[in-house]
Each structure stands twice: as structure tokens, then as C-alpha cells.
């Protein structure tokens, strides 16, 4: 019988082994964990937890959305696109999934497709804040002036997720170089979710780009919340003018 002991049959093959003594958690627990990781800027960890939430319940919508968002944050846009399609099979024509697919396409450089998906997402009935944020990102790529009004709409529709939406809006504007507005949103995000290393990091980066002296303090706070974070440490070194290339080429 020994040679048959390692054979896998049906769905048992897909189930993750639970080690003895490990507490059984539900999808909400893993979703909360994923959100914590996301706010700490650890997108790999967040993706892992979203996957575990989906292992508990594969019809858990927030898990699919979170996975696509994490893949986008990790720069794997083609994979995010594929995964958004898969999520759309389970939740057809869902506006948020269409919106994150638009973001993945836009970041992958496929602007026309991104615009089409974004159009599709905001033409639905139950448009959420994330749809407007995605719309803003697509329009910012096209240097459209109405992008800012989309961000305003997103913030006004955020509801309970106002801190996350402000953080996302700040990150988006920071990335696109609209630093003064980004600073406002990020400061509000930090006030609302002070334990988020990601919020502090983004605020610190924004302040550093603006040449503000408090950037180093902000980035140190980010490192306190998530010790050893390489991105924050590099940003802190840059803000202190002590990076390798600065030392070599800078004065």
C-alpha cells in the first residue's frame, strides 16, 4: 500500500495541508491579515493571505480583487490582467474588476484597451470609489484635466474605506508627479491610518521629492513600523544623500 499513499485524488490535491495545532481561520481573518500586509507595503504577504482567504471560500469577491491589486502592485501586469479575466469569469461585468483590469492594462502600456475597460466600468450601475480611481489613473496617463475630478469623486464615494482610498489617491498623484495634491491626500491618510508603514513611506517619498526636510523623519517612522523594509531604507538613504551613487557622483 505504500506506493499508493502519495497519490492525489480530485479536490484533495488542491487543499493546503494544515499542520497539527494550527488554528483554523476563516476567510475574514485572512482578508484582515492581507489588508494589514497591504498597509505595511508587503504586497507578497498580502497576496499570500488573499490566496489563503480564497482557499477557504473561492467565491470570496474581496479575495479576487485583492489578488489582482497585489499583482499590479508587484509590477506583474500581464499576470494581473489574466487574473482579472479569471475573476471576471466568476463575477461577470463587475465594475471594480473591470476597473482594476483597466489599471493593469494602463500600467502595461496598453492605453487604448485600458480606456475601453475604464469606460465599461464606470458605465455600470454600482460604480465604486476604486472605479473612479482607476478612471483617474487612466486619464492621468493621457494627461487629461478631468482626472482630478475623478479622484474627488472617488474620495467622496469612499465610505468606510476613506483612509485607503485617500492613500491610493495620494500614491497615484505622487507617482504622476502631482506632488502638492498628493501631499494633502497622504497627510490625511497618515492621520487616519497612522500604523500603515506604506502611508508613511509614500508621504516620506512625496516630501523628499518636494525637498522637505521632514522626509527623513517620516521615512524613519515608516521603518519603525516595518523594520528592515528595503524600499524605505533606500529612500531614507537617498533623502540623507548617502546612497552609493550619490556618494560616487554627488557632492
Amino acid at each position: 500500500m505504500k506506493r499508493f499513499s502519495k497519490l492525489e485524488f480530485g479536490d484533495n490535491a488542491r487543499k493546503r495541508k494544515i499542520s497539527p495545532g494550527e488554528a483554523a481561520h476563516d476567510q475574514d481573518y485572512f482578508h484582515d491579515q492581507a489588508l494589514r500586509y497591504w498597509l505595511a507595503g508587503d504586497f507578497e504577504g498580502a497576496l499570500r493571505n488573499y490566496s489563503r482567504a480564497l482557499e477557504q471560500n473561492s467565491a470570496f469577491y474581496a479575495g479576487w480583487l485583492g489578488q489582482v491589486l497585489c499583482l499590479i502592485e508587484l509590477g506583474e501586469y500581464a499576470e494581473a490582467n489574466v487574473w482579472a479575466d479569471k475573476a471576471l469569469e466568476l463575477f461577470p461585468e463587475h465594475p471594480e474588476l473591470l476597473a482594476v483590469k483597466a489599471v493593469a492594462l494602463a500600467r502595461d502600456g496598453k492605453m487604448e484597451k485600458a480606456l475601453a475597460y475604464s469606460d465599461n466600468s464606470i458605465s455600470r450601475d454600482n460604480v465604486t470609489a476604486r472605479c473612479w480611481l482607476a478612471r483617474a489613473e487612466v486619464l492621468l496617463n493621457r494627461k487629461s484635466e478631468i482626472a482630478e475630478s475623478c479622484i474627488d469623486k472617488a474620495v467622496s464615494q469612499a465610505g468606510n474605506d476613506i483612509a485607503i482610498i485617500r492613500l491610493e489617491a495620494g500614491r497615484l498623484l505622487n507617482k504622476k508627479g502631482n506632488l502638492s495634491q498628493a501631499l494633502q491626500y497622504l497627510q490625511q491618510a497618515v492621520e487616519q491610518s497612522g500604523k500603515s508603514a506604506l502611508a508613511w513611506y509614500e508621504l516620506g517619498c512625496c516630501q523628499a521629492k518636494l525637498g522637505r526636510a521632514e522626509a527623513a523623519v517620516t521615512l524613519e517612522q515608516s521603518l519603525k513600523l516595518r523594520p528592515g523594509w528595503r524600499l524605505a531604507r533606500d529612500a531614507l538613504n537617498r533623502s540623507r544623500n548617502r546612497g552609493f551613487w550619490r556618494r560616487l557622483f554627488g557632492r
Partner: protein
């Protein structure tokens, strides 16, 4: 069974919502919930392709043209290919033939990185030569390799491209790295683990009053001197030398057989090595450093039997304008390569 999305009440046993089509109970469906991931080595290529895609789209949008790519507007033939091949493989990438040179471009990058890492040594120059050769072949293979039928034409073109690229690389080195100078030192500083014969990397822009501190290793131009009517005058430059700054303008240096003293404070010989030729000093010598001058030390080799105090005055007190650069790191040997701490 209620739909989690639209809250429509479905019949029991339904796997999808009758109204919106959402999955109701995915336990039976056995959906794979682990997303696909990209391999790490593919990420740089993805970044490059994405960058190109974005720029292609932007150009098309600004031109207001649809259907054909903006690359179609480039002049056909070898000239455009050669111009684009200033970045190896770019012409092939634009033409959709990158697979023809897919091994050459990483090889060129590796060789170039190796050449920069070993720059200044024979191996560095050898790697740079190979990198230029591969770059030239990539540029040549875009269109000239097929269009030229005569072998002599091929060889002529290939050599012409090699010469142009060599000039281009030389120009890049002269402009981008104009600030840097490599020089060998004849000092041994135990605290910095610098030994005689080490090659130091120095920067020209750091050779100013604010940057030079006690202990800084600086590159000075050594000039011949001649005595004209009792006055010492500067002659032509005969070479460059790495020296260590011992005293700054306005300070007073005392030299005995044991070491240097600056403003009454004795310097640690591990950090400020005392050269052999100064051990000939029998009586202590005290020198006040005038403004615009520095007291420096190095292992000079003197011929003849001039008095030591004369040698000290001529070789150790240098003018600020003779300082050409300040050393920032040990470049060779490679296993001891690092930034300098002393005098920084």
C-alpha cells in the same frame, strides 16, 4: 440560495446566480485560487518592452495617426539602423527582429559592466574592446550584413563601425567620467589599509577648499623648479602624484624624527604615515603654512644632497591650485575596493 453580489434568491443547488451570473458556491467548482507569477529574470525585459510600448503609443497619439506604427515613418535602410544601433539591439527591436541578436545584447551588457568594473586594468580594456566588437557586430548585422555582397565591403563597413563606436565610447568616457582620475599611490596608510602601489579613484570637483581636510589624499601636479635670481619659480608639469594633506592653511607643522605635529598636537603615524626621507631630519623643523597653501606628505625620492629643510619647503608645501583632485575610493586591487574614510 442568495447571491452574494446582487442578493437575488436563487434555487437551491444552483452554482451560478440566475440574475447576474456570479458564482454562488465555488466549493464544488474547485477553482484554482493561486495566481500566475512572472519569473524574476523576465522582469527587466518586461520593463523594457513596456517602456517601448508606452513611447510608441504616445508618439502615435501625438501624431494623430492610426493603423501603422510610428517606426514606419523612419527612413528605411542602413542609416536609420546604424543610428538606432547606438543602443545595441534597438534597431532590431524596432524592426521586430530582436531574436536575431538576443544573445549578443546581454553579452554586450555583461562585457561592458565588466569593463567598467575593471576599468584601468588590462582586463578592463580587453573587455571594453570585446564589448565594442559585439556592439559593432549588432549594428552591422541589422542591414549591412545582408545588403553587402562583397566580403571586402563587409570588412570595410565592420571596421568603420568599430572605429566610430570606439570614438563614441571614448567620447562618453571623456564626458560622463571626466570628473574622475585614476592614480597610483606610493603611500602606505595602515589605518585605511592602503598600500604602496594601490590605484585610487579621485574626483576633480572635490579639489576645493571646503572638501579638503586633514588626512585627505589628493592628486597634485608635480612641477620642475628652477632658481632664477634667488627666487623659486614654477616650471612645467612633469607628472602627478597622490599625497596626503597633513596641515591646512594657517596651521603650524612641526617635523621631528618621530612624526608630524600640527599646532602642538602629534598625529597618529597609523593615519598619517611619516615618510622615510623625513627621518633624516636631525633638528625639529617648524613651518607655518601660509594662506592658499597646504602641507602634504608623500614618499618622494630625491637625488643629490640638498638640505632637508629645503626639500620640505619645496616638496611638502604646495599651493591649492596645484591640487587637481581628491581621492574618494581605492579602485585597485579589486578585493580591497571601497570608499575612503580618512579626510572625507
Amino acid at each position: 440560495m442568495q447571491c452574494p453580489r446582487c442578493h437575488f434568491e436563487n434555487m437551491p443547488g444552483q452554482s451560478r446566480c440566475f440574475k447576474c451570473g456570479s458564482v454562488l458556491d465555488a466549493k464544488e467548482a474547485a477553482v484554482n485560487v493561486h495566481p500566475p507569477r512572472v519569473a524574476k529574470w523576465k522582469r527587466p525585459f518586461r520593463l523594457t518592452i513596456r517602456w517601448l510600448r508606452r513611447h510608441t503609443k504616445t508618439k502615435r497619439q501625438t501624431q494623430g495617426r492610426h493603423g501603422d506604427t510610428p517606426w514606419d515613418t523612419l527612413p528605411p535602410g542602413a542609416v536609420s539602423g546604424l543610428l538606432l544601433s547606438i543602443i545595441p539591439g534597438l534597431a532590431h527591436l524596432v524592426a521586430g527582429r530582436f531574436s536575431n541578436v538576443r544573445w549578443y545584447c546581454p553579452a554586450w551588457l555583461i562585457l561592458l559592466a565588466g569593463a567598467v568594473y575593471l576599468f584601468g586594468s588590462a582586463w578592463g580594456f580587453a573587455l571594453l574592446g570585446l564589448a565594442i566588437g559585439i556592439h559593432a557586430w549588432v549594428a552591422f548585422s541589422y542591414s549591412l550584413n545582408k545588403n553587402c555582397t562583397e566580403p571586402s565591403d563587409k570588412i570595410t563597413w565592420l571596421f568603420a563601425i568599430i572605429i566610430v563606436l570606439a570614438l563614441l565610447y571614448w567620447g562618453v568616457r571623456r564626458t560622463v567620467f571626466a570628473d574622475f582620475i585614476w592614480a597610483y599611490t606610493n603611500l602606505t596608510i595602515p589605518s585605511e589599509k592602503i598600500e604602496t602601489g594601490d590605484c585610487l579613484l579621485a574626483r576633480r570637483t572635490l579639489a576645493d577648499v571646503n572638501s579638503i581636510k586633514r588626512g585627505s589624499l589628493v592628486l597634485v601636479s608635480v612641477r620642475t623648479e628652477r632658481n632664477v635670481r634667488g627666487l623659486w619659480q614654477r616650471g612645467r608639469e612633469i607628472g602627478r602624484m597622490i599625497v596626503q594633506v597633513i596641515a591646512l592653511p594657517g596651521e603650524q607643522v612641526t617635523i621631528t624624527q618621530d612624526g608630524f605635529g600640527v599646532d602642538g598636537e602629534w598625529l597618529d603615524p597609523n593615519e598619517y604615515p611619516f615618510p622615510q626621507w623625513l627621518r633624516r631630519t636631525r633638528n625639529p623643523v617648524t613651518i607655518a603654512i601660509p594662506d592658499g597653501c597646504y602641507f602634504v606628505s608623500s614618499e618622494y625620492e630625491f637625488r643629490g644632497a640638498a638640505p632637508v629643510w629645503t626639500l620640505i619647503r619645496d616638496a611638502c608645501v604646495i599651493r591649492a591650485r596645484d591640487i587637481q583632485a581628491q581621492a574618494i575610493m581605492v579602485w585597485f586591487p579589486v578585493h580591497r575596493r571601497r570608499f575612503l574614510r580618512i579626510g572625507q
